[in-house]
């Protein structure tokens, strides 16, 4: 029991250290450095290994926003990459949050961590009937994907802005690069 407690404390400490390192180097005026903290991956195991989850509180991001990001190694569209918005609908992990989502508009081509792909905004209908704003990212490099989805109760434009800034921060870029290189 004591061993378990020590192990848990060590794990929490390690996790906090990773999160602190990440947020300490976040770029841009908003969200402020130190505003994103890593939280436990909140979803049950599926076909892909769990990724990393982060939360930015309302005080820093206007509204509370959560972002979930993970590599998906092994993607058949090695040459064409993320070809269209349907691809974002399929792969961006929106279905982990809710099976019911509708796009707000056509997606946009984006580049994050030197990876090209698409981002698209959505309305999510949650289990309790409430609506959340979300943005899904699907980026590809060769035969691999990096997907992220951010959600919050606030305006879609704000969720998109803070998520995009955080995803493009130096530390996230470094982690993404390592994760896709088999790290």
């Amino acid at each position: 029991m004591r061993g378990l407690l020590i192990a848990s404390l060590l794990a929490i400490g390690t996790l906090s250290g990773v999160a602190a390192a990440l947020v300490a180097h976040a770029d841009g005026p908003t969200p402020r450095a130190g505003t994103w903290r890593e939280i436990a991956w909140p979803f049950p195991r599926d076909g892909w290994p769990a990724g990393r989850a982060f939360r930015c509180d309302a005080a820093a991001c206007g509204e509370a926003v959560e972002l979930y990001v993970r590599p998906k190694i092994g993607f058949c569209n090695c040459d064409s990459g993320v070809a269209d918005d349907d691809e974002v609908d399929r792969v961006a992990d929106l279905d982990l949050i809710s099976q019911r989502f509708s796009p707000l508009e056509a997606g946009k081509a984006v580049i994050v961590a030197e990876m090209a792909g698409r981002a698209r905004s959505y309305d999510l209908t949650m289990v309790d009937g409430s609506t959340h704003a979300a943005i899904g990212f699907a980026l590809s490099r060769r035969c691999d994907l990096l997907v992220a989805v951010a959600q919050g109760k606030g305006e879609a434009a704000n969720v998109q802005r803070v998520a995009t800034e955080f995803l493009g921060s130096d530390n996230m870029t470094r982690w993404i690069t390592v994760a896709l290189n088999g790290g």
Partner: protein, 492 residues
């Protein structure tokens, strides 16, 4: 470099077995094998032996279909697109660089296969080009076909499908094109007695790369579209989560009145049982209700596994159940996953057997995988895991033996007479050649590459020959069973 290669070659020497005592020899053979294959080392085998081979012009191979054509046996082999190093290999018969398409090989004498013709495919590398899938029907068996024609249906790259008249296999003639401008294509099925074809396609307005377009190809020169089909959530205009994409299907025709669809490749597999008559004659607009209408049931698999091949075997007598008052025979579907990642970078993809006798309550009853430690397959390079099975229902092997393409573990022969307890009785892993392409994984920011056989697909013919083709450009190998495996199959 040469001395290093020789050293590795000696360390990798294995014994080729060609007759009985499968288990002991299998263990000896694979325990002797070290990780990487080297050029010049013999094949690894148990109860299977090489009869003949062809290099297929060093093109990456996907689906082989063997067709008895008059007094000849012809192999039609689909290819993926070219590689980064060689996007368009040279066809020695024409002297021209041609994008990978379809190889046509006369295998009447399996010891001396004769390459007849290459039909170029779509420009593009790997899965983005080529002409991966092939089905063949005689004109005389199709309701409105030209009795003198032999028709080959093939998927062309990601963009569409084509039908060729291959009555003279050395001089094929294009008959028609179907469904150009698609997002993707994949493994089709064509009922030769009715002409109904199920074409895995990516209709531009659907939300998935792969769904089914059902056509009446009873007159191959004049295709008639019947309907589009897929899972609810994939249809045009839908929102929310998108179910996993279709991979292929096998129909039991009007008599069996069932189609077994496989969705997913290496993840989130679904085996769907569909009423063929309702599919063909029910309401066709792709609304959620109309897509649900022909479905009898579906069996979701683990998120770790896909459904690449769904091979039905109905009314299998189960010896263990012979004295039971009910349930003596079972309807079985063999489901084969596809490994995607090199060097065991994902959960194991393998073979599953589902009892679908009670169609609305299908249940997985057994599985098979090659023991990794038997050949250190995770270290050999390339993919390790299953990809596909033979799909021939010829009596020589149907419901008795199944052959599974297992990438770097070659082809595996399974005794499936008791599908509750499938048993491996033989295997064959071809030697690599100078044409065998490398397979890489990222390591410390760079690619680390190895060369290994990548047996991608397997098919059998009515004579009992087994045809395996290699994704890593090593070509076609024609095999036969020996020893205990041959006896298990009831072959002389």
């Amino acid at each position: 470099m040469k001395s290093r290669t020789l050293f590795v070659a000696y360390s990798a020497i294995v014994v080729v077995t060609c007759c009985g005592g499968a288990n002991a020899q299998q263990a000896n053979t694979q325990q002797a094998a070290t990780q990487q294959q080297v050029i010049g080392a013999p094949p690894e085998a148990s109860n299977m032996k090489l009869v003949g081979s062809n290099d297929l012009q060093a093109r990456s191979a996907y689906q082989p279909t063997i067709h008895h054509q008059g007094d000849r046996w012809i192999a039609y082999i689909g290819h993926h697109g070219g590689t980064d190093a060689v996007p368009d290999p040279v066809n020695p018969m024409t002297g021209k660089a041609e994008p990978n398409g379809t190889s046509i090989v006369d295998v009447t004498d399996p010891a001396h296969p004769k390459y007849l013709h290459h039909i170029p495919g779509q420009e593009g590398k790997y899965e983005s080009g080529g002409a991966q899938m092939v089905r063949v029907c005689d004109g005389k068996s199709l309701p409105k076909g030209d009795a003198d024609a032999v028709y080959m249906l093939r998927a062309v790259g990601s963009q569409g499908h084509e039908i060729w008249n291959v009555a003279d296999p050395a001089n094929p003639v294009l008959v028609t094109k179907i469904g150009e401008g698609l997002k993707d294509t994949h493994k089709n099925f064509w009922e030769c007695d009715t002409g109904i074809a199920y074409l895995v396609s990516g209709a531009p307005d659907w939300r998935t790369r792969r769904m089914a377009q059902v056509y009446d190809l009873s007159d191959p020169a004049h295709p008639v579209k019947i309907r589009d089909f897929g899972l609810v959530g994939q249809e045009p205009g839908s929102t929310g989560a998108v179910p996993t994409e279709m991979h292929g299907m096998i129909s039991t025709g009007p008599q069996g009145n069932r189609i077994y669809f496989g969705y997913g490749t290496d993840k989130g597999g679904i085996m769907q049982i569909v009423d063929r008559d309702k599919l063909l004659n029910g309401p066709k607009e792709p609304t959620p209700d109309n897509l649900r209408f022909p479905e009898i049931s579906r069996m979701p698999m683990s998120a770790f596994n896909g459904a690449h091949t769904t091979f039905p075997m109905k009314d299998m007598p189960i010896a263990e159940f012979a004295k039971d008052k009910d349930g003596k025979t079972r309807d079985i579907v063999m489901i084969v996953d596809e490994a995607i990642l090199n060097e065991c970078g994902e959960p194991r993809q393998m073979v599953w057997f589902a009892d679908v006798t009670t169609e609305t309550r299908p249940m997985m009853i057994s599985s098979f995988t090659v023991p990794e430690a038997g050949g250190q397959f995770c270290e050999r390079g390339g993919r390790f895991g299953s990809h596909s099975s033979n799909e021939s229902m010829a009596p020589v092997y149907y419901k008795k033996m199944a052959f599974i393409a297992f990438f770097n573990a070659g082809v595996r022969a399974l005794d499936i007479r008791d599908p509750y307890h499938p048993k491996e009785v033989g295997y064959f892993i071809p030697s690599i050649t100078a044409a065998t392409d490398k397979r890489c994984v990222p390591a410390e920011g760079q690619d680390r590459c190895k060369v290994a056989i990548q047996t991608n697909n397997v098919e059998t013919d009515e004579r009992g020959y087994i045809y395996i083709v290699d994704r890593a450009n090593t070509g076609l190998h024609i095999l036969e069973l020996t020893g205990a495996a041959r006896r298990a199959a009831g072959l002389p």
